[in-house]
Amino acid sequence: MSEMIKKNANDLNLNFRYEIAKKVGAKSLLKCIQCGVCSSGCTVTEYVDLQPHRVVASCLLGLKEEVLSSNAIWTCSLCHRCTERCPKNVDYSFILALLRNMAAKEGKIPKEYSSTVEVIYDNGFVVPYTEGMKKNIDRRRERMGLPEIVPPNLDDIRFIIDETGLGDLIIKKEDDK
């Protein structure tokens, strides 16, 4: 359970719910009836600071900062039971992905997530596939009689990452080095 917070009505971000709901898949946010089915079936319910139904309530109330800095949005195991069982068809899985996108834009990204993107940027794959690694993998595959890997053109992959706005994240990381 999270601590009780007190907030003035003026400090609530009343537009937050619409910021989320304007995305096609997230419009269902507005239909939540707070029944709690999502939280009762949630795989990680005992590990999060805000349970799923409370994340939704917080979005509806306009507690943007609290939601985007909660551990709940990143702790999810992506089992999708919440979305499957919701009697009002609220797509919590998609809403959560959107909230993570928003937090990421503000630079709030756990390293467990950002490191994967760097590997894809450098290799086109989520597993390192250059030089020594590549040699070992290729040798092992050849021994098993498996066909050669034809990797993607990295310029294409980087172009897509840059063009869709994720490139900034990589550049920021490069600057940090």
């Binding site: 590990y47 499957e84 990204i109 756990p110 894809i120 897509i160 869709t164």
Partner: protein, 298 residues
């Protein structure tokens, strides 16, 4: 059979071909025995991985996915996946973009700059979906050389194969039976158990203890069942790795005797269809399936 016949473009992903090629070998052996024709997809990237890419930027995730589908579209074939993560990503991308032509148009504006286009004509399948069609099950039965008659198997479906059902449309989201059906066709007995549909916890990245608790709960239940379980069967490389590695760690920490081997579905299928055990590299698993092999060879 699908509208486009028995031929598919094979999407391997990253983890299986680069880290666990023995799983790919088992699947290719099974496909070749059954007569599923596979075409290699050259130049595909990571699907991309549904956990982090989608979390950081949904548009990057959709566009990289659409580029992979564009490659299959150019080949004139549907996509066959062998990993639940790839299946979730590519199927979701194909369904979402199929329902939202405006979004597809935007994505194509980016793709066209690198000479790709996706028009939405690709269907994405998981191999279990294809092989549970009646004609394949019949063929599988007639080609079984080493029936799994004496085996008692537990199935782990994993989350991304079946949920959310409005997108995956694969099997019942809370009571799936397709993998059980394949194993029963090969002669094995499959069991029902309380934690059957529980998540493996691999994707809960921030807290190691979540995964450990989930693996401990499932493996403890399986070990305490009255009838001995010969193996846990999964269809995703992440689930296989998670149970196989964590099982040993938990046994050491808690003193519990957890020693149920974890097999990738095509591995046990390959055994039944007569592939030489030597070719399957099952000894690379942390929990060696020695007892299971003994049962099958005596």
């Amino acid at each position: 059979m699908t509208k486009k016949g028995n031929k598919f473009s094979l999407f391997l992903g990253c983890t299986i071909p680069l880290k666990m090629p023995q799983l790919e070998k088992a699947f290719r052996d099974v496909a070749s025995i059954l007569g599923v024709e596979l075409k290699e997809m050259e130049g595909v990237s990571c699907c991309p991985e549904p956990v982090s890419l989608q979390s950081l930027n949904i548009d990057t995730w959709l566009t990289l996915g659409a580029r992979n589908l564009a490659i299959a579209e150019k080949m004139g074939l549907d996509v066959l996946t062998i990993c639940s993560g790839c299946y979730e990503t590519l199927k979701t991308v194909s369904v979402l973009l199929g329902e939202d032509p405006e979004h597809l148009k935007k994505i194509n504006e980016i793709l066209k700059k690198i000479n790709y286009e996706y028009t939405g004509k690709v269907t994405v399948y998981h191999f279990v979906e294809i092989l549970t069609q009646p004609e394949w099950l019949k063929k599988m039965k007639s080609l079984t050389i080493k029936p799994l008659d004496d085996l008692n198997l537990a199935v782990h479906y994993g989350c991304h194969l079946v949920r959310p059902s409005k997108i995956m449309r694969f099997d019942h989201p809370e009571k799936p039976e397709k993998i059980d059906l394949i194993l029963q066709t090969l002669g094995a007995k499959t069991i029902d158990f309380a934690t059957k549909l529980e998540c493996c916890g691999y994707c809960a990245r921030l807290q190691e203890e979540i995964g450990e608790k989930l693996v401990e709960d499932k493996m403890t239940e399986l070990c305490e069942l009255e009838e001995e379980v010969d193996a846990l069967i999964a269809v995703c490389p992440a689930c296989v790795t998670q149970y196989d590695r964590k099982e040993k760690i938990i046994a050491r920490k808690t003193g519990k005797e957890l020693d149920i081997p974890v097999l990738y579905l095509p591995e046990i299928m390959a055994i039944a269809l007569g592939v030489d055990l030597e070719d399957l590299s099952l000894s690379t698993r942390s929990v060696k399936p020695n007892k299971l092999i003994e049962k099958l060879t005596t």
